[in-house]
Amino acid sequence: MSDFDKLNRIREQFNRSTETLTNVSEVTGESGFRRLHILWLYPDVLNIHGGRGDVMAFLHMCDLMDIPVEIRRLDDLKAEADWSWPHIVYMTAGELKCVDKVAAALIRQMDGIKRFIRRGGLLIANGSSGAALAKTVELYDGSIVNGTGLLDMTWKERESVWGDDIWVRTEDGLDVIGNQIQVADVTLGEGQKPFGKVVYGRGNNDDGVEGAVSDGVVYTGVLGPLLTKNPHLTSGLVEAAATLAGVKVGRKLAPEDIEIEEKSAEYIKAFMKDKMKSAGESAEVETQVDTQTE
């Protein structure tokens, strides 16, 4: 049984005007404990592909693992975030057109962002919001938008959209599955580590890798929502951030917590395997998939 009751009880207690949400009333543990701080950056602007589900997944995972968490949202692009507060900063998927304003807002706060990363913070961007972390983004009309350059990558808007399932394996051997709606090709600079290797799907540029990652900064185009569909990734992120922040992790994620997500993954991986087979991809690929899974 994956208990979603806590999430929905918490959801009833908080609203847009509170601008912050916490599960401290629901998680076990003594009072006065430290909280994991998650900042949800620009959700009104970065509003597509069900991205808000990722933030719900953060809350749900913290409920499951008895991690006291506080989530704040910052919607105003002109406002200055308090970068000393969060342990995780998350940007949900947004439209590529918004990269100009989002990148400009981040560049303006770069000193704070760098301090945040230096003290072990984790900045994650999902979908096209990752463009703001690139060095440059070339849009459909040839115009160039300067990104933050937090990751050594360049983006170029595609003439057509590419949509498909995707299956990525990270360096740590974690399988991440979901969908990819790619409106821009992503080229990594030499030495820039990807988020993972592509097992199935297109990835950054049909080049066998997906996303980009460096110390404390992550971009992945895997949608799903990413964190609802990949509970092991979600639990890894909150546990790592909580540990670094000195926040108590009440319990480990148990298999029965995520039975439904695991079942979902089983069917979706089988679907991708079938596509690989019907595309005539080699037995080598199939072997690779089979040995890499489970």
């Binding site: 509170t18 602007v45 509003n47 069900g50 808000r52 719900m56 959209v161 949509g163 929502p225 979706i268």
Partner: protein, 450 residues
């Protein structure tokens, strides 16, 4: 000569298809006409861009086109229209063919075409309509459309200073498209008892302003992502609508525009936008308010808003949704939520099979809010699909549905689905799934019923 041959070949094909499969909509005659004469449309005599209206946008264009055609006909206009929803270039040609004489003379006072928003630039190149009605530009079919801005740009590319556009003034992307047109007529719906806000949900999101890309503020919503809005940064969105539906009474099924009362049989907020769009364009083309009122009163939508099929004592009410389109899913959820009686909810999301590669997107359901539906008394939710049944179930759980009332069937097998349904006493059943799955289920039930 080429045109004449194309015309005759296409008309003959249309006639032959009508003999073989009467009433079956097809683009084939249009394809044949264009094959023999790629400039076929421009060779039609009497085709006047000043009397040509395109209806485009993400949602509501078929119903709006149907309503408009009904009003125009009631007003005495001869209308060339593609009512069958064939909204690509071939479908437009077929509709024009039907209204052409053998000499290629158009016998219509008004040409009214629903046009696919993605193919609008191609269609407009052949038929440069001077009137464009834009219903909305929303999240939809992301595998081909990507993001709403991509579609907004496609529509924008055809708009010029010699055009009149009729835009939904309550939808930011549609409204933004009016700025480039020579004339922009705005329509909208006043706040009403179905209006809502999302301030009670920490996880709710609005949208980026299409002009300045900063966050929009909605004062209220009439339907998801459509309502009274403004951009606090650039001021976009504050202007009044030229045609505004007011004093909306969903029970009496009436609304006002000015002093005039109009009936709307399909009394949901979603349909109301179709009515006010049709009223706006018809009024601007000279239809009187009396004629429009009369037309609205006897308008009947092809297929209705809800289809039903009986299994024993159970009535399955099927609500259509569009693929990867959160607004249509939300509209369907809202209709079900409006029924406070106990119910079974069948949710059949599935992999998307429109074109290769087929894929398993269900993320758009996280752009919807299932909580009002869940609070409306679902005794059992059955999620079925060969691939994504567990994802659908998970979506229900995230919005607070009790796991013990959830059945996940990882199959599309009709018998398994109906057998599971029959385990429960409740006769009030709602179904959301793709049209092809509903048709398969209905066919199975028909055989079952003998």
């Amino acid at each position: 000569m080429r045109f004449r041959f194309a015309l005759l070949a296409a008309k003959f094909t249309a006639w032959a298809i009508n003999i073989v499969a009467k009433g079956r909509g097809t683009n084939l005659p249009g394809k044949i006409a264009l094959k023999f004469d790629p400039d076929f449309i421009s060779h039609i005599k009497g085709l006047d861009p000043d009397k040509t209206i395109f209806v485009t946008g993400t949602n509501g264009k078929s119903t709006t086109t149907n309503l408009m055609a009904h009003v125009f006909k009631k007003a005495g206009f001869r209308v060339a229209v593609n009512l069958e929803g064939a909204n690509l270039i071939g479908g437009v040609v077929v509709s024009l063919l039907k209204n052409c004489s053998l000499s290629g003379q158009l016998n219509a006072d008004v040409v009214l075409m629903e046009t696919d928003e993605r193919f609008l630039p191609i269609i407009h190149k052949q038929l440069p309509a001077k009137h464009l009605c834009i219903t909305n530009v929303q999240k939809d079919q992301v595998q081909r459309n990507g993001e709403p801005e991509i579609i907004r740009r496609k529509i924008l590319s055809v708009i010029s200073e010699d055009m009149t556009v009729y835009v939904n003034g309550d939808e930011p992307n549609a409204l933004s498209l009016g700025e480039k047109a020579g004339r922009c007529v705005k329509y909208g719906v006043d706040r009403n008892k179905s209006s809502f806000d999302k301030k009670n949900d920490f996880f709710s999101v609005t949208a980026p302003c299409p002009i300045c890309h900063e966050a929009i503020v909605y004062d209220h919503y009439n339907i998801d992502n459509i309502g009274s809005f403004h951009c606090p940064t650039c001021g976009f969105g504050a202007a009044a609508n030229d045609y505004l539906a007011t004093e909306i009474d969903f029970d009496a099924k009436t609304f006002h525009v000015g002093d005039k009362v109009y009936d709307f049989k399909y009394s949901t907020p979603y349909f109301l936008y179709c009515y006010i769009a049709a009223l706006t364009v018809a009024s601007e083309f000279g239809a009187s308010s009396d004629v429009i009122s009369e037309a609205f009163a006897d308008f009947a939508l092809q297929g209705g808003r809800m289809e039903t099929v009986k299994v024993g004592t159970k009535e399955i009410k099927y609500l259509r949704m569009k693929q990867e389109n959160p607004e249509t899913v939300q509209s369907a959820l809202n209709v079900i939520a409006d029924d406070p009686t106990p119910k079974i909810f069948l949710l059949g999301l599935d992999e998307l099979v429109d074109f290769d590669p087929h894929y398993t997107n269900t993320f758009y359901t996280f752009d919807c809010d299932f909580r009002r539906l869940i609070a409306s008394g679902i005794e059992r939710c059955i999620c079925f699909s060969g691939t994504v049944a567990y994802d659908a179930g998970l979506r229900m759980l995230y919005d607070g549905f009790a796991e013990e009332k959830l059945t996940v069937l990882p199959t599309n097998d009709d018998k398994t689905i109906i057998d599971e349904l029959e385990k429960y006493d409740c006769d009030n059943v709602y179904l959301i799934t793709w049209l092809h799955k509903y048709e398969a289920l209905a066919e199975y039930v028909k055989k079952l019923n003998g």
